[in-house]
């Protein structure tokens, strides 16, 4: 099992997540696609870490997880407040950036 297998899988997941971000309209689903992209990058970080026999990649993936958790909390709160003022969670409706 070479690292290339994992990296190709990670690239595929990243691509699917990117397409999802571009295609989907529901802000929460767009957010989930961003999470998928972060996860794909984490997989490649872990793979690189094992490939080089060095723990830095694992630590980096750990930090990505922490940042992703913070991002999800703030992002979902923003989606909630947009939903409260517009009654919609579609990214097409939030086009004026006004509260």
């Amino acid at each position: 099992m070479t690292p290339t297998h994992y990296l190709v899988l990670s690239a595929l997941l990243f691509g699917i997540g990117a397409v999802g971000v571009l295609v989907r309209r529901n802000a929460i689903v767009v957010f989930m696609c961003v999470e998928l992209m972060l996860n794909a990058v984490n997989l490649s970080l872990v793979t690189f870490s094992r490939m080089h026999g060095n723990l830095d990649g694992v630590i980096m993936a750990f930090f990505v997880m922490v940042v992703a958790a913070a991002e999800v909390v703030v992002g979902l709160a923003i989606i909630m407040s947009i939903f409260r003022s517009r009654r919609s969670s579609s990214v097409d409706d939030a086009n004026l950036l006004k509260f």
């Binding site: 070479t2 999802g20 094992r50 750990f62 999800v72 909390v73 909630m80 407040s81």
Partner: protein, 301 residues
Amino acid sequence: MSTLSAAAVAAAGGGAGGEQIAFWILAPIALAGAIGMVMSKGAVHSALWLVLTMLSLGCFYIIQEAEFLGFVQIIVYTGAIMMLFLFVLMLTGRDAGDSVIEVLRGQRVWALVIGIGLVGLVVTGLLRALGATSSVGLGEVLAARGAIGSIAAVLFTDYLFPFELTSALLITAAVGAMVLAHVERAPGEKRSQRQRVAERMRSDRMSPLPGPGVFATSSSNATPALLPDGSIAPGSVSRLVEIEESERVARRYAAGEALAELEGVDHPSRGPGNQADDATQTPDYDTYEVTDVPTTKGAAR
């Protein structure tokens, strides 16, 4: 059974065999979860597909000797973050899928083309750069202090400052979420007319919503108002009505078919069979009695 025992033997033997089997089982599952997330119509289904992908990614981490990260992935991501997603989905209400109005023409096709192009570039680059490179493995690094001890050693020495920064980040995130999700109004407090007028003026639509059933062909409240181009006027049907029902009514109207049998949509007690009678027969209120209803219906049939 034989494949299972073969897998067990390979796993017991350790090394590449078990890893290969796990990879070729988990990789399609992860990809299926990702594709299912992008393709599925409902947001809740998307979330559940994503859970599948994240679980298999957690297994990948464990396979790749990063057990701690694998369990963190399963506990934090699939346990906490995805539950937060589902929580917000339930708070914002289960929307009936994405809006079908394409703001940019051909956007989906181009997104797909760009996605395939990106993946193609990255994959060919990876294959050319790495080829069949084998990995060194983490065994040597982990041997000194054990799986968790060595991660802790790196985290609390080389990465101490970023680690402290994450604490600031998490506190900021928590405070930010509280500020953003905070409601000024106490629950149960009524808004004044002035507030409601101001809210309405600030919203996209100052005029009243178009009434349902504007084309006066059906008494179903799933009947949408149609715009001049034949599409459904947004907001003309109650949010509680599934959008598919309105689309069905509009399609039937466009095809020139009778709408009478769709009128029972929001009155489950009324079967689809007896709508034609009710629609054509205006009840005569002088002689209309409850006991008459079954007999007249029976005669009509």
